[in-house]
């Protein structure tokens, strides 16, 4: 197996794929559906936002590849307790990390750093970012399907 494949499919990613965290619906929560027409992946992100814009609960459901599922699972763990603005800022740093060229130093994003290997696989960037795009739509409580295309 190549080093790049090992970078992509790290144990933590495989673990979150097998046992996704916060994989459930939240009743009466804001939610949005994300869709990747390239591969047919669909995901729904739910979130509740408390006083001061703090994300008090966040979860997801859907089907997808290992990268999209693990990314969604890790996202829910990373943003719970953060404010919506902080989550948005984290998305921007995450997006930069997974789209940077191979030589760019890897930003430390905690657990999310495990997804840095995606940068070696440009066609998989959309898999890793699907949950985040869907989160943004859920924050806006847009009742529409967001697409990666």
């Amino acid at each position: 197996m190549s080093a790049e494949l090992q970078d992509l499919y790290q144990e933590m990613i495989l673990d979150h794929n097998r046992r996704p965290r916060n994989f459930r619906a939240i009743a009466d929560a804001r939610h949005a559906e994300g869709y990747n027409p390239l591969c047919g992946d669909r995901i729904t992100v739910y979130l509740t936002v408390g006083d001061g814009g703090t994300i008090t609960d966040v979860s997801f459901q859907g089907s997808g590849c290992a990268i999209s599922k693990a990314s969604a699972s890790l996202m829910t763990e990373s943003i719970k307790g953060k404010t919506v603005e902080e989550a948005q800022a984290l998305f921007e740093r995450f997006q930069r990390m997974i789209t940077a060229s191979g030589e760019t130093p890897i930003d430390d994003l905690g657990k999310l750093t495990v997804l840095a290997g995606v940068r070696q696989f440009p066609v998989r960037v959309k898999c890793a970012s699907l949950a985040w795009h869907t989160l943004r739509a859920a924050v806006d409580a847009r009742n529409e399907v967001v697409s990666t295309e």
């Binding site: 197996m1 190549s2 494949l5 499919y9 390239l38 047919g40 290992a66 696989f121």
Partner: protein, 415 residues
């Protein structure tokens, strides 16, 4: 130009064929390229590449209007390409061959001309559950405009059309039957001659989507008796952006025009326009001349090898592939029809097809992962996507073995 490749015992000399395809000589991610995405597009033999270079270097000019030498040569080459296509499909008349961008445009052409003229409120168009989006959406657009209905022939679990349902869906409201010759997901070879007979005995015309068929088996439109047959150049070793609509002359003659513009007219005044004869009436604007010439080179190349031989070779390879894949633990083949061509769709236990595709790619093996532009079929199969290996005449048993080895790597990653 075309290399005639033959082997003893009437078989296929695959090694010689592979030499004709320069792209196959490369490595991908440090591994020899194993190209198994032929249902998406096929690679091009040197003869096709040379024909494009020759055209642009020696003959480039516009067709049917110049008085000069080059225009004459370009026109001759373009007309000769049409005759090559006619021979290839065994059509009765080269005026029945319309050059289009590809299968998609061919189907849209029929929908927007024949369809708009003959389909009205309450009428029905019969399709099948295994159609590609390009043989669904044009009919949906037409049906919405006209207040017509789509009727969908279901498939059985192995991926074969339910012929009893097909017959049941043919009614006095059916205006057209649109069916794929070979499924791009299941590999099923539909019994198109039987379907044509059943439909035409009721006076219903039939359009066949031949995109996945023409590179893998001989096609004879006269023997099939179909009214329309569509295919794309790039799936038969030719260039992208060129394709063919075959239509029976009586139907084409009666059909309204498609796009308006130069080349498709007889005489134009601001009051009215008369249209050109077949097939030019459907070819507005400067056509893809180089594409047509490249396609003809591809058909000549394939004809020299012999489609009967190609079909026999690929049948053997497909059997070998199905057998080899079925030995991979956790692998499930999708599409196990008795009559199949080229396609091996599969699911690997819990591993998403997209992950399969990425790992295979790093092993040099190119497959497709996704819905293959068949979302209604995916819904019928109950999966969001499949992984698909699709064969062409230049693939080998060794490449199937490489696919199986790469699938072991997938299993290791996801162990």
């Amino acid at each position: 130009m075309a290399t005639v490749v033959s082997a003893p015992r009437g078989g296929l000399n695959v090694n010689a064929i592979r030499q004709d395809f320069p792209i196959l000589r490369q490595q991908v991610h440090g591994k020899p390229l194993v190209y198994l995405d032929n249902a998406a597009t096929t690679q091009k033999p040197q003869a096709v590449i040379d024909s494009l270079v020759h055209y642009y270097a020696q003959e480039n000019s516009n067709v049917h209007r110049g008085v000069h030498e080059l225009s004459g040569r370009a026109t001759d080459a373009y007309d000769a390409a049409r005759e090559t296509v006619r021979r290839f499909l065994n059509a009765a008349d080269s005026r029945e061959i319309v050059f289009v961008r590809g299968t998609t445009e061919a189907i849209n052409l029929v929908a927007q001309t024949y369809g708009r003229a003959h389909v009205g409120r309450g009428d029905e168009i019969v399709l099948t559950e295994m159609e590609h989006h390009s043989n669904i959406v044009p009919w949906q657009i037409l049906s919405q405009e006209k207040g017509a209905q789509l009727r969908v022939v279901p498939i059985a679990d192995a991926g074969e059309l339910r012929l009893d349902e097909f017959e049941r869906l043919l009614t006095d409201r059916t205006r057209l039957v649109c069916v794929t010759h070979v499924s791009n997901v299941l590999g099923t070879v539909n019994p198109v001659a039987d379907l044509v007979r059943l439909a035409r005995s009721r006076g219903i015309p039939v359009l066949i989507d031949g995109a996945q068929a023409v590179a893998h088996m001989p096609v004879d439109v006269e023997a099939l008796g179909c009214d329309f047959y569509a295919f794309s150049g790039h799936k038969i070793f030719g260039p992208t952006g060129i394709g063919v609509l075959y239509g029976r002359k009586a139907l084409l003659d009666a059909m309204p025009v498609y796009q308006g513009g130069g080349g498709m007219i007889g005489r134009v005044t601001f009051d009215r326009t008369t249209y050109a004869e077949l097939p030019y009436k459907f070819e507005a604007g400067t056509p893809h001349i180089a594409g047509a010439i490249g396609l003809a080179a591809a058909l000549d190349y394939l004809t020299a090898i012999g489609l009967e031989r190609v079909a026999a070779y690929e049948h053997d390879l497909l059997e070998y592939g199905a057998q080899a894949l079925s030995q991979v633990p956790g692998l499930q083949l999708t599409g196990t029809a008795r009559s199949k061509a080229s396609v091996l769709s599969f699911a690997l236990h819990d591993v998403h097809p997209h992950d399969v595709g990425t790992i295979l790619d790093r092993e040099g093996v190119a497959i497709r992962a996704g819905h293959h532009c068949c979302q209604p079929l995916m819904a019928r199969l109950g999966v969001p996507a499949t992984a698909r290996a699709s064969l062409a005449m230049y693939n080998t048993r060794e490449e199937i073995d490489a696919l199986v080895r790469a699938l072991q790597t997938v299993r290791e990653v996801f162990a």
